[in-house]
Symmetry: C2
Subunit: 314 residues, 2 copies
DNA sequence: TTGAAAGCGCTAACAA
DNA sequence: TTGTTAGCGCTTTCAA
């Protein structure tokens, strides 16, 4: 009898007694449903796709861990596929969608902010959850309050006595991260500090742009006493400049980053930064795709204070 | 007519003319075969599984990139699943194997060296490729010559004038990595330097154990003038100790690591280390599972010389 | 070398 | 609430 199917899929209209009997048999026989057959006959594939690009390895792995774990514990499977941002992307995505028929797709920056990528998913109608997407595009988006925590960071620096606080912009294509700059302005405003353009530099999220910005900022006639970079790699670039110039950190210049990357805690001195709940983001994304009525929960970032800012006044 | 199947699977016994006609039609219609149907009817699933544990994010991501890219370009798909080393691992693996029926499995440390994990795969008979597996267990193994490159590292240090060279052991459960110690001994032997136990410390691959070993080594009455740690995190721990003690690197002590992690190049000073072709490892692993007659190629590691050892004598 | 038929192991739709 | 039947889209087997 194929009531078994009903039990396995947790459908209603099954008497508890029957259900129990089936469950027992399943356990005794070590029965495992065949994914392929379920996919072919049913409407679901039990597959979530995670196409990714430009891996910041820590971010990717954390998202993957969170999402894959949730999938695993709910009878789903996570398929990850690298997608380059070249014209072939279209083919790759089409093939993925058509052969795999995933029940949902998780996207992270920069894919989730690339209109011509999102278009492909929109056309196929597959449910999409975008993590940290900064644009209004197809699919649901999980957003973090990066602005508030950036303001907190500035407040932290101000509380240490800093008045001239430099800032290094996030990569211009990471839309949502632009909020970090707004938070920086918020923080200055709260402290009644006039923002100064000469203390702000553009960055590209890599070490080199952090080094360049650091060189410029620390060469100013009146250099900042603290520099807040929009990510850790750039902050570590500034740290490198400080070391090279024999400046003490945080004595001569305090440095803060964003991401809580492994390098940030391993650096010398360890870097003050912001921790995002990345693994949870992956988990929540998967959950939003798998559970019908699951709403986006609030996810907040945390300030991680380490020695690169530490107490200046003591 | 179902000759189409023959064309798509590149089977023989099809006239070139017919083949061309079919291929044209396929392209025009944008036809994509349905994975589930192929799995159900055929003997292959076109799925490679990558269960992983204890992610060193860079390593995992690189393996994943290499493997997923190869899979993607050969009609396969990579499913990654986190596996904890607790008793539940058995259930997780069984479920994965039975529902997914992967055509092959890729394993990395520590899973590839855990007998009771490998057993599960052996029982199911699924083809396994173990990357950097140090034990003789089920499945084919991709091995790197970590011993030779470790010897080169010591030779490099000796060439800079170092005679007292400390070593921090790899994590005891990473079997293959023990070769790094043998390479260290080789290097000393080549230089005619007597190995000294007091210059060697056990490590656990993390920052803390590097700090601990660094403290001990640098507190010796006759401290080493160079320290070679079996991975970057531990080397960065030693670097932290040096900074704290106001020692100059490489002036007072040269420091070398192993892995070429992102932190190693971002550190101050940038860390001399060893680069493994990790992404290629992932690619090769996938290829060994997908292409019938593909043999393990030679994969060598490269010494990356940066400022943390630099020239001592100059 | 090609075509026709059976059926992989499930779920959907319907009948009982 | 349960059982029956058809069929998902391919590959396999076998006949032509």
């Amino acid at each position: 009898m194929k009531t078994v199917s009903r039990v396995l899929n947790n459908e209603p209209h099954v008497r508890p007694a029957v259900r129990q009997r089936v469950e027992l048999a399943v356990r005794e026989l070590g029965y495992r449903p065949n994914l392929a057959a379920r996919q072919l006959a049913g409407t679901r594939s039990f597959i979530i796709a995670y196409p990714f690009n430009n891996p910041s390895p820590n971010y990717i792995t954390d998202i993957l861990m969170g999402a894959a774990e949730f999938c695993r514990d709910h009878g789903y499977h996570l398929v990850s596929e690298p997608v380059d941002l070249n014209p072939d992307a279209k083919t790759v995505i089409q093939r993925m969608l058509r052969t795999l028929k995933p029940d949902g797709v998780i996207l992270t920056p920069p894919l989730c902010d690339t209109p011509r990528i999102i278009e492909q998913f929109e056309q196929s109608g597959v449910p999409v959850v975008r993590i940290a997407g900064g644009r209004e595009l197809y699919g649901r988006s999980i957003i973090l309050d990066e602005r508030a925590v950036s303001r907190q960071m500035v407040e932290h620096l101000v509380s240490l006595g800093h008045q001239r606080i430099g800032f290094i912009h996030p990569h211009p294509e990471h839309i949502l991260a632009q909020a970090r700059y707004l938070g920086y302005l918020d923080g200055l405003a709260v402290a009644g500090i006039e923002p100064r353009n000469e203390l702000v530099r553009q960055g590209l999220f890599d070490l080199a742009s952090g080094v360049a910005a650091g060189e410029e900022l620390l060469s100013l006639p009146m250099p900042p006493t603290a520099i807040f970079a929009a990510n850790d790699d750039m902050a570590l670039g500034v740290l490198q400049v400080a070391h090279r110039r024999g400046l003490s950190v945080p004595g001569d210049v305090a440095i803060a980053g964003f991401d809580d990357s492994p390098s940030s805690s391993i650096a010398w001195p360890p870097l003050t930064t912001v921790r995002q709940p990345v693994r949870k983001l992956g988990c929540v994304a998967a959950r939003m795709l798998i559970e019908e009525d699951f709403e986006t929960p609030d996810l907040s970032c945390a300030l991680i204070i380490r020695e690169s800012t530490a107490s200046k006044i003591d």
